[in-house]
């Protein structure tokens, strides 16, 4: 007997033939990157889709352009671009470690590539590139609506304006910056660190703040849409910092207790302060992450049991959460209210 009952809360279930490492959702598409390098594109409404490219050496990240007409993938040995019109994929085997792809707008994408960040057009042609960093680039993020590029590597986050290789601002901190988070307001630059801390700069004057005391390295950081709340891993609890007013200096975060090991964080679109987190135990927790007082220890508003370690989470709409699991399943969970 083989009956697959789709629970009411599940919009669709799909799967890929690899261990997913990254998800990207834009408009009507879901992109899934597998650890061994294959990238799939699925229809957000049905989960139906196909493989669009193979990145030799594996993949680490995938990003759809805002208009969902192009896709960029990054991996240990290079990067690739895919065009929806015609379905053509261009693979660039640079031999350089590429851990991140981030679109400035529908026409330009920044790719971490070894010690450089490259700004490419949709065909993969280099438009410009900041000067090399001291070590392999770990993350890139756009500021000022795609006019300024922040590049994280060991020892510093450097910011570059278009076509200027030399940084317009350098935010130094001796540490291995693993992940960047910059709110839409551009007021803060935050990095998660190998030394188990979050380092924060106020972008206006470069004034610094370090949130230390995490038991583990901080490799996942995310601001909500309002730019007020920052969620981070680095502990079994998700910590949520309040960046309103003068910022989080001297404050305590809310602690969200559910997982042993956090593997994904995704803020629900909007300003309700709703967060989804995933764990290696296969649980997705949904949180009213900003409720209660600072220092509050929160329990999930709801949990979803996925049955395998969560690899990545992304919201397709305020009521649709896409989850990729380590066993290759990709599920669209319907989440109404909280």
């Amino acid at each position: 007997m083989s009956v697959t009952a789709i629970p009411e809360a599940l919009a669709w279930e799909s799967g890929v033939d690899d261990a997913p490492v990254a998800l990207s959702v834009r408009r009507d598409l879901v992109a899934v990157a597998g650890a061994e390098g294959t990238v799939w594109v699925l229809d957000v409404a049905t989960g139906a889709g196909a493989k669009v490219l193979d990145l030799p050496g594996g993949s680490l990240d995938v990003a759809l352009a805002p208009d969902a007409r192009h896709l960029a993938a990054a991996g240990p040995l290079g990067h690739a671009l895919w065009a929806r019109d015609g379905g053509r994929a261009s693979v660039f085997e640079t031999g350089a470690w590429s851990s991140k792809a981030a679109w400035a707008n529908k026409e330009r994408v920044a790719i971490a590539s070894g010690r450089r960040a490259l700004v490419l057009d949709t065909e993969g042609r280099e438009l410009w590139a900041p000067e090399p960093t001291a070590s392999t680039v770990t993350d890139v993020a756009w500021m000022r609506a795609g006019r300024r590029l922040a590049v994280a590597a060991y020892g510093a986050v450097s910011c570059h304006e278009r076509h200027t290789p030399v940084p317009v601002a350098t935010y130094r901190y001796v540490g291995s910056h693993l992940a960047l988070a910059i709110p839409a307001t551009g007021r803060w630059i935050c990095s998660g660190n190998q030394d188990a801390s979050i380092h924060i700069w106020r972008s206006r004057d470069g004034s610094e703040l370090t949130m230390s005391g995490y038991p583990e390295k901080v490799s996942r950081l995310a601001f909500d849409d309002t730019g007020t709340w920052l969620a981070a891993d680095g502990a079994p609890e998700v910590t949520v910092w309040d960046f309103s007013g003068k910022g989080p200096a001297g404050t305590a975060p809310r602690s969200l207790t559910c997982h042993e090991t956090i593997t994904a964080l995704a803020w629900r679109p909007g300003s309700d302060g709703h967060l989804a987190s995933g764990g290696d135990d296969g649980t997705i927790a949904l949180w009213r992450a900003t409720s209660g007082r600072p220092e509050a220890r929160l329990r999930p508003a709801r949990t979803l049991d996925g049955g395998a370690a969560v690899a990545a989470l992304a919201w397709a709409a305020p009521d649709v959460l896409i989850a990729a699991y380590r066993d290759g399943r990709v599920l669209a969970h319907r989440v109404s209210g909280l």
Binding site: A35, G58, T136, A311
Partner: protein, 335 residues
Amino acid sequence: MTTSADGRVPVTVLTGFLGSGKTTLLNRILTEQHGLRIAVIENEFGEVGIDDALVLDAEEEIFEMNNGCICCTVRGDLIRILGALMRRRDKFDHILIETTGLADPAPVAQTFFMDDEIAAQLRLDAIVTLVDAAHVLRHLDEAKPEGVENEAVEQIAFADRVVLNKTDLAGQDTIDEVISRIRAINAPVEVIPARHAEVDLARIMDVGAFDLDRVLRDDPAFLTDTEHQHDATVTSVGIELPGELDEERLNRWLGELLRTKGADIFRSKGILAIADEPRRYVFQGVHMLLDGEFGRPWQEGEARRNRLVFIGRDLDRDALERAFAGCLVTAGAAV
């Protein structure tokens, strides 16, 4: 070969100078019919070409940790590569990391202590140093400018196993001299003579050199004669003392020692008898990082005794012996 009891994938660090036979040994490991799926991370690209094995290239990136520990550095490149490897669906039975002859082994080893994600899934099995019997003396004798490490000395000091390769190309006198020099630097290390990198893989892979349970099994070699009269700056100090230790005094001494001298102490190992504790305390460390736990109970009639060994630079044997003796319960108010 058996797989690790704790389920984590063992990682062997293979180090040695150019020409010592690392590539030959690597190829030997990869082609031997052991049925293991092996991933190789190499610093010198393109040397190994085996269809079956996954070979990844790494460029040494050393990162400081902001944890108040001055010698605490990790290898950012390894963290990245191992992290990506662990996210793959295909599982490996063993990982080999080949470092260049110029690489410092400490950040490599420390990576396995400092990164929780790695420590949860991988275990450092052993540091294996390849030595060219015919040419190593020249490297060991090479005078370095003040403050610069002699890498050959350092790699022997860090090793759990030394493969003394190319013994067919060196005379017996030279071989004897090399072994004696290796022992002067690293007394407890197991030296494996070899020709053409022909080594019984069971002696270098899955040996559990960092496994506290197995620190004990190396017992016979633990405190071999260290009374060589070389005026080397990197030496081993092994201490054996009967009796029981006062836990508080021991912690204070060891903590202070590693805090102040940790940069000069490359490796440390010990099996200790703590007062009022029925089990043996086993520890091992790399620089300032120490990993210890209570092991099996002392057996009935077994004499309580303490053995420890430090391998490092400018070690003051007398001072270490005195301070360690001061931790004995019977030393009482004398400290």
